[in-house]
């Protein structure tokens, strides 16, 4: 027994050590750690629309468009240009109008105010001429089939002021849990016609439309100005001389004051004149530079040495060969694929 107890004396510490050791546990291989997504504090866009009484018309519109669940979902992100009730009223839209309009129309109007997938704050918006083209939630309808092809709106920033298209933002950067709201001074009216169609319906632009047709004579289909101006995916600013402006030009040239006179000019000259009135960007009046700034016309796209246009918010636009600026007599006529401003002179490259 004595021997046995001796053994125990030797064994006991060992056994104890083992017990102490094994009571702790091996660490399992850690699981992959998810990357913590920043918790979005605050209300969602939907919640703000529902609670802020200044948005009662927009709330009704969003609800009617069936978009309330989407803008209330924290897993989504939107930038909403939000007309307040006052803005809607200023645009002639009341709650009654919203209720009366077909749902599809309301949906397009609401979608046109929304840039999905990005939270764009005022500081994210470029100050460069003329603005940034942003796809909206409004998908261009058939025959388009791609869900990526959208109506665009055009946020811009000038001297601390934010604009979308030609509408001023009165309160930018309302932070929400799922994006940003910029309160606008008026409703954004989605354009419904392409430039060619819109201009053709403007009685004051019959000479210009005739010039386009004359310029396209002999040009293969697909490369005609008409094609571009009718393409909903294009993006133009048309400096549109009025009928009177063209009549003044014909008088100066000693030609009959009729749209038919374009056929008396060399086709290349007409093409050059038309191209000189097109800018490959959508500049609203609000986007025009305050200081005189040279801007390339479509002419520069095919002829890099072509003279530039000069824009000035206060004076208008000047062709290289024009002695004085043309005044903008009517601005911001908006179409699906661009905007046109009426001017009182034909711009002359040379």
């Amino acid at each position: 027994m004595k021997k046995m107890s001796n053994i125990m004396k030797s064994v006991l510490p060992v056994a104890l050590l083992a017990v102490i050791g094994v009571t702790s546990c091996n660490k399992n291989v850690p699981e992959a750690m998810p990357i913590a997504q920043p918790v979005q504090a605050g209300s969602t866009i939907g919640e703000i629309l529902n609670t802020n009484t200044n948005f009662s018309i927009l709330k009704a519109a969003v609800t009617k468009a069936g978009l309330m669940p989407a803008v209330s979902d924290k897993n989504n992100v939107f930038t909403v240009f939000a007309p307040s009730d006052a803005a809607f009223t200023a645009s002639g839209i009341s709650l009654a109008v919203i209720n009366a309009l077909p749902a599809a129309s309301v949906t397009s109007i609401v979608q046109y105010h929304i840039v999905p997938g990005r939270k764009i704050l005022a500081n994210d918006i470029s100050t460069a001429f003329p603005n940034v083209q942003m796809p909206t939630a409004f998908v261009i309808p058939a025959p388009n089939t791609s869900p990526l092809v959208r109506f665009s709106n055009f946020p811009s920033r000038r001297a601390g002021n934010v604009w979308v298209n030609n509408i001023p933002v009165v309160t930018p950067d309302v932070n929400t849990a799922n994006g940003a709201i910029h309160v606008t001074a008026a409703m954004l009216n989605p354009p419904s016609r392409v430039l060619l169609d819109t201009m053709a319906r403007d009685a004051d632009l019959q000479y210009l439309v005739a010039a386009v047709l004359a310029a396209d004579a002999g040009v293969p289909a697909g490369s005609k100005f008409q094609d571009f101006l009718a393409n909903p995916l294009a993006n133009f600013t048309v400096m549109a001389p009025t009928n009177q402006a063209f009549m003044n030009l014909f008088a100066f040239l000693g030609l009959p004051q009729s749209p038919a006179s374009f056929s008396l000019l060399p086709a290349a000259t007409v093409r050059g004149i038309v191209a000189y009135h097109l800018v490959l960007a959508r500049a609203f009046a609000a986007n025009l530079p305050t200081a005189a700034t040279p801007v390339p016309s479509l002419l520069s796209a095919s002829l890099p040495t072509a003279p530039l246009l000069t824009f000035s918010a206060s004076q208008g636009v000047k062709g290289a060969a024009n002695p004085i600026y043309s005044k903008i007599t009517a601005s911001d006529r908006h179409a699906i694929n661009g905007v046109y401003h009426k001017i009182d002179q034909v711009l002359m490259p040379q």
């Binding site: 053994i7 064994v11 992959a32 990357i35 940034v132």
Partner: protein, 911 residues
């Protein structure tokens, strides 16, 4: 195998000639004085002569005595674990019946590897550990190879149940090229795949006589390699260990169902050895392991580029579009989505400003991967066979023809995870040995079978199902579409992934398997994942001990060897698409030792010269001193140098993995890639914005200088064996890799390397100018308690000296690790019950590899076994557990979580 069969036939024909009778024999039997069982493998020698034999499995012996011997004679009986017994035999006809008393043999064991001559372990001039067959048969480890982890200073990386790599002195990894394994004199590194295959192709457990572990640099005697240590495994001599033995371990794994469903474990071994007569003996062994492998399921996210390369980072599949799980394959394919988005912006200018808000910084997106469980074969099988024919040409010269052959399925972690499927490796040897010399020739025949790179295969599987061009286009469009529907970035990524992954084959379905197999069986060189490696090694070596000639002056030993590697991967691994590449190595060594003042102090000096056809010759010296401070108490001092030639892969690999192509570093490879005509630029410098031509110095072997002191002594009335060591190691010319970029244009232009599509990334091995210092120590105690109880313990430490930040050393060793063993080989009535408990613990450490860098958490393992002897039928039954507490642990990053394995075994005639 055919060749082997021919030799066997030849020997059998010679049988009648070699059976010659001795005229006088002494016969008898030996049994255990305590347990009463008959003892086999007991050495029986005639005192004062070299005549000797062994008892057979039933304890019987017949000792031949030269005619004319005068009786009475003294016969000596000895066996490990028993005291030496002498008896007087009066006449030849007398039956000598002997009972041996079990006895403590601490410090009495004889090791060969320390000096290549038999030496008592206590007098070894360098650090060495020995595991004898008694320890092997009583260890709780289900696989004997695991026993090595219970020795001090040993780290093990377990890439799978059957693929284990041991290491000492740091730098652990799967396929460690700084640690040599030698089985019966043959280096068992797979010559093409560059990992030691001891746990796959080595000896069957029943045939292991002993394992000797040399910690630390050992090139001076064993040649290039073995910079950090050498493990020698010796098989059982069929003259000594005779009869039929078998052992069946049946167990169960995955009992908690955490990684896999509970599954059986089988480990069966058989060995049959027969001494035909005093001149001829042979043996045959076979072993089979079958189980469901441990699963590597580390799904943490790995950074694959930039300064954080290889680091574990936050993120999972749901939250990181570029997620690359450690044990998830196929998700290594990555592309900056901006390329796709910018393409869309080009075609749809009206979206360009919107897209430009998305592409401000890179948007890397990885393809969706599959987990290891989904793409690797869960069945690990290991079948090994071996055997030898031993023939004594004369009384003192023995010829041994032996072979080992193994095949199996297992998983290996290299720069990627590899599924080794039907891997076959054979080692065949012809050896002539004499008391004073030996000559051996052997070959290692490797065949990668159907082995494939799981990472590459799964990536190519993804391409086969849906090419990345299409997948990323769909992803990009869906991502944009998701955003334009108001989804947040993360949700848009999820939506894009589910869109692009639409119809993705589900693992386990016939469709998945059909596509997967079509990639898996296509060689890497042909755009698949299959390795075609059939690289072989041929080696011949000899050694002569001149000590009998130089007696009284000093002991002298000389030797030399020649090796030829024949690289043969048909362009799937090496740059050998045009034919096999030979690499030759030769070396020679000499050792002299002399004792002074009656062996109070003994000096041994050895040196070795080696030359490889691709590298300059190298001389490595070793000097040791052994100081006897008291009987059985010695201090040892050694200064050793060691080095290794770059592995065959570091010389000639040519393998595209991930975003880079690994190439070898020998001049022929650099010439093949026309580094002179088409300069390569440092990728690191390029990332920092500089265009800097990368220069390459001569590629050199890696070297270490190591100084070590140690002490081994028997204390407390020979009941306590204490061993301790401390070392410092200085490494230089560390082999590492550098990433460079090169133009792939027909007319190279430096500007090309800036463009991803016009360049290739190459990973080239170089010698690092940084010197690396290591140091460490270890202490072990073996204590014999009364009644046959014993307790052993050890603790050891390895540390890396200061290195500059960001320098990857792959040191991979815990600062501390320890083991404690408590057991008894025979207790209770008739000493039939035995048990053994081993507790192992190691500290956490930073693990670095080509695959990933990160922390390997501290872990502990408790192994235990209890056995009961059935002497009447020479059998033993055992209940054993490895990782008794079933606490999962990993030994290295990207390697499996190892859980509990519980088994019952039945062994017959286990010696």
């Amino acid at each position: 195998m055919k060749r082997l069969a021919r030799y066997v036939a030849l020997l059998l024909l010679m049988l009648p000639a070699i059976v010659n009778a001795q005229n006088v024999t002494i016969s008898g039997s030996v049994q255990n004085a305590v347990g009463g069982e008959m003892l086999g493998s007991v050495s029986v020698t005639l005192k004062g002569s070299s005549n000797g034999t062994f008892t057979d499995a039933k304890g019987n012996f017949k000792l031949s005595v030269p005619a004319g011997t005068k009786f009475p004679v003294t016969v000596l009986f000895s066996s490990i674990g028993y005291g030496i017994t002498e008896i007087q035999v009066q006449n030849a006809g007398e039956m000598a019946s002997v009972k041996l008393q079990p006895a403590s043999t601490l410090g009495e064991e004889v090791v060969v590897s320390a000096t290549r001559t038999p030496t008592r372990i206590i007098e070894s001039p360098v650090s060495i550990e020995r595991v004898n067959n008694a320890a092997i048969r009583n260890a709780p480890a289900a696989d004997y190879f695991d026993i090595a982890t219970n020795l001090k200073g040993v780290d093990m990386v377990a890439s799978s149940l059957t693929f284990k790599t041991v290491t000492t002195r740091g730098f652990a990894g799967s396929g460690n090229t700084r640690f040599t394994q030698i089985v019966d004199g043959m280096d068992n590194q797979a010559p093409g795949l560059n990992f030691s295959v001891g746990s796959i192709v080595g000896l069957s457990e029943l045939d292991v006589e002993s394992m000797e572990l040399l910690q630390g640099a050992s090139s001076a005697l064993y040649g290039p390699g073995g910079m950090n240590g050498t493990l020698l495994i010796n098989s059982k001599d069929p003259f000594k260990y005779q009869g039929l033995s078998f052992q069946m371990k049946n167990g169960v794994m995955h009992t908690d169902g955490k990684y896999r469903d509970p599954a059986p474990y089988y480990n069966w071994d058989v060995r049959w050895a027969k001494k035909v007569n005093d001149k001829l003996a042979f043996k045959f062994t076979a072993g089979l392991i079958q189980a469901k492998d441990w699963l590597a399921a580390d799904n943490r996210n790995v950074m694959r580029s930039g300064a954080m390369m290889g680091q574990i980072i936050p993120g999972n599949r749901a939250t990181d579009p570029n997620y690359d799980g450690l044990n998830i394959y196929g998700d290594e394919t990555t592309l900056d989505l901006n390329q796709v988005l910018n393409g869309i912006a080009g075609q749809a200018p009206f979206l360009a400003p919107y897209i430009s808000t998305l592409t401000g910084s890179p948007n890397p997106v990885s393809r969706t991967g599959y987990s290891e469980k989904e793409v690797t074969n869960p069945n690990t099988i290991n079948f090994k066979m071996g055997g030898s024919i031993n023939y004594k040409l004369t009384n003192s010269i023995e010829a041994v023809l032996s072979g080992f052959w193994g095949t199996g399925n297992t998983v290996y972690t290299g720069s990627d995870r590899y599924s080794l499927l039907d891997l076959k490796m054979g080692q065949y040897k012809l050896e002539l040995k004499h008391k004073n010399w030996l000559v051996r020739a052997y070959t290692t025949q490797e065949n990668a079978g159907q082995s494939y790179n799981a990472t590459i295969t799964t990536r190519l599987f993804n391409e086969a199902w849906k090419p990345s061009l299409q997948w990323y286009t769909e992803y990009g469009q869906a991502y944009l579409g998701g955003l334009l529907n108001g989804l947040s970035t993360q949700n848009a990524h999820s939506f894009a992934r589910s869109t692009a992954d639409n119809g993705r084959p589900v693992a386990g379905t016939a469709r998945f398997q059909r596509i997967y197999d079509s990639v898996r069986i296509r060689p890497i060189s042909a755009g698949g994942g299959l390795l075609l490696d059939k690289t072989n090694l041929y080696a011949i070596e000899g050694q002569y001990n001149l000590s009998h000639l130089t007696k009284g002056v000093m002991d002298v030993l000389v030797g030399g060897n020649f090796r030829r590697f024949l690289l043969n991967s048909q362009g799937t691994l090496f740059a050998d698409s045009t034919g096999k590449i030979p690499i030759d190595e030769f070396g020679a060594y000499a050792q002299a030792s002399k004792g002074f003042a009656n062996d109070l102090i003994k000096f041994t000096v050895s040196g070795r010269y080696d030359k490889n056809s691709n590298f300059k010759g190298r001389f490595t010296p070793r000097a040791t001193a052994l100081l006897r401070v008291a009987k059985d108490n010695h201090f040892r001092f050694s200064y050793q140098t060691a080095y290794r030639f770059p592995s065959t892969q570091q010389q000639y690999i040519n393998l595209a993995v991930g975003g880079a192509t690994l190439i070898g570093g020998v001049p022929k490879m650099l010439e093949g890639y026309n580094f002179k005509g088409n300069p390569v630029y440092s990728l690191t410098a390029l990332t920092a914005g500089q265009l800097k031509v990368q220069e390459f110095d001569d590629f050199k072997p890696e070297a270490v200088k190591s100084f070590e002191v140690g002490y081994r002594g028997l204390l407390a009335k020979s009941k306590l064996l204490l061993d301790a060591y401390a070392y410092v190691g200085n490494y230089q010319d560390f082999i590492t890799r550098v990433l460079v970029v090169q133009s792939i244009s027909a007319t190279p232009n430096p500007a090309d390397v800036l463009v991803a599509s016009k360049r290739r990334v190459l990973s080239v091995p170089i010698n690092s100018p940084t010197k690396v210092k290591t140091n460490g120590w270890g202490v072990s105690l073996e204590y014999r308690l009364p009644k046959g109880f014993f307790v052993n313990g050890n603790i050891s430490s390895d540390q890396l000296g200061d290195v500059q930040d960001g320098f990857i050393t792959y040191f991979n060793a815990p600062k501390y690790r320890g083991n404690m063993t408590f057991g008894n080989y025979g207790m209770g009535k008739n000493k039939r019950v035995g048990f053994n408990m081993v507790y192992r613990w190691q500290a956490e450490f930073d693990y670095q590899s080509d695959l990933a860098n990160g922390v390997v958490p501290a872990y502990q393992v408790l192994d235990a076994q209890i056995s009961y002897k059935l002497p009447k039928i020479s059998s033993v039954v055992r209940l054993g557990a490895n990782n008794l507490l079933n606490q999962y642990y990993i030994t290295a990053l990207a390697n499996p979580s190892i859980g509990g394995l519980y088994y019952v075994s039945f062994g017959y005639n286990i010696f």
